[in-house]
Amino acid sequence: MNEKLIIGRSIETGSWVHKLDARAKITGMLLYVAVILLSRSWMAMALLAIFSIAVMASTRIPLKYFLKAAKPLRYLMLFIFIVQLLSVKTGEAVLTLGSWSIYEGGLRLGAFSVIRMFFLITFTALLTFTTTPGKLNQGLEGILAPFKKFGLKPDRITLMISISLRFIPTILDESQIIMKAQASRGADLKELPLKEKGRMLVSLLVPIIASAFRRAQDLVYSMEARGFRMDAPRSQYHRLRWGIFDTIFITMFIVMGIAVALV
């Protein structure tokens, strides 16, 4: 797959974060979002930055990987910064060019937005770097488990996610081949004008969808032949185990949340 999409890859270093229960990490992530939103002063931002960098460092993954994760969105961040800078007109004017000024409020909000976005992305990357998709999926199931009493069926959601994780790379590879095959018949999707592209897209989508249906049918046979039945009891080889470090992890975020709110 694309080397540009570094987010989504898991990088093994065996740090304490890697060993945490996936449920703790997901919950921590949700709490972190709250922490980010509660940070509304320069002091809070500083605390946020120190805390985040400390957690990232503790994963023993080189910080450059986190930067690489944010890289694809650098233009978006720049855009948001500029929009905030120019549109928010509270506080004193910091810079004036003729009749047009940049205000302190704009500068502040612009900077805050960028910082928040940056840490949101890098922290999400942290989640995926330290947790395999399979474990994340399991963690999700664990977190959704209490909602069973409201009629939710987390194991179905988990099944859908695992089958997607299984087949998305395969389907992407297949689509490469189909594009080449159609290009060999003169339908080069890259070289065509926009109007033509639409028609040619059918030559890509129909085979992929047909293939997906075929796969689904074969998969069902395979799963049923191996005794699978929806909602039947199953044992679990890899079980999630909540430990003291998981509690510590969650507590860290709660403490941070309180800290940034007060500052």
Binding site: G134, D218, Y221, R226, F228, R229, P233
Partner: protein, 284 residues
Amino acid sequence: MNESYEGQGLEGEGQAIISLDGVSFGYDPEHPILQNITLSISQGQWVSLVGPNGCGKSTLVKLLNALLPKSAGEIVVSGMQLSEETIGSIRQCIGMVFQNPDNQFIGATVEEDILFGLEGLCLSYAEMAERLQAYTTRLGINHLLSKHPGELSGGQKQRVAIASILAMEPGIVIFDEASSMLDEGSRNDLLGILQDMRAEGKYTILMITHDADEILASDRVLALHGGGLAADVTPAELFRDEELLQKCHLCEPYPWRLTRELQNQGIHVDVPASEKELIDTLWP
């Protein structure tokens, strides 16, 4: 059109582990794919199921574990008559390896795929760990446990499929053209695996195939044609019967073909086991 074979069956001496009696199937009652099939397979046999594409071989085996519902007749597997209540138990007795290595790979990693069936059996952690270790070692894939199927070759994926099935410890293993999408080397590997399985004596093997080498390795050939059983013969008998070969869209293995052509030239030899043997026979 229904064809039924009325000759000597090759059920063998052991207990019948699979038996079909008057089994029929069709998506549309006007156009049945299979009609009135009666046959039985003994424990420990290695049976090849052959016939032209579209004749219902794949359909037939899917009736055995109720992946498809039969329209008529009785099916008995491992002493259990196939019914709503026994489907679960019968599926535990039968393992199936399909043709497309990708579309039967359920897990996102090799380990996940093998665990899929084991978790469904509600085994304990210890039991699963043991079987995981045993069967991945046996099939030479224990260094691939964390790999996504996209990183594996067709042959490796089929080995994972076989490991997943054998780990569930079925008595009957069905291969539905499991080697036809593989390259030559992987096909030979697969044949080797089957021969090992046969040597163990615990498995009854049913193999849908076109491959002459796989047919030769088996004990018995069931030929389907026109919705019914057209023949129940040994591999040797199959390869000597030109008409049957044509019907089943099969070709004899090269040494057999050569022997026949030599016969046409007036030279009579037995089917040689190797080229050296032929040379020595013709010009000692």
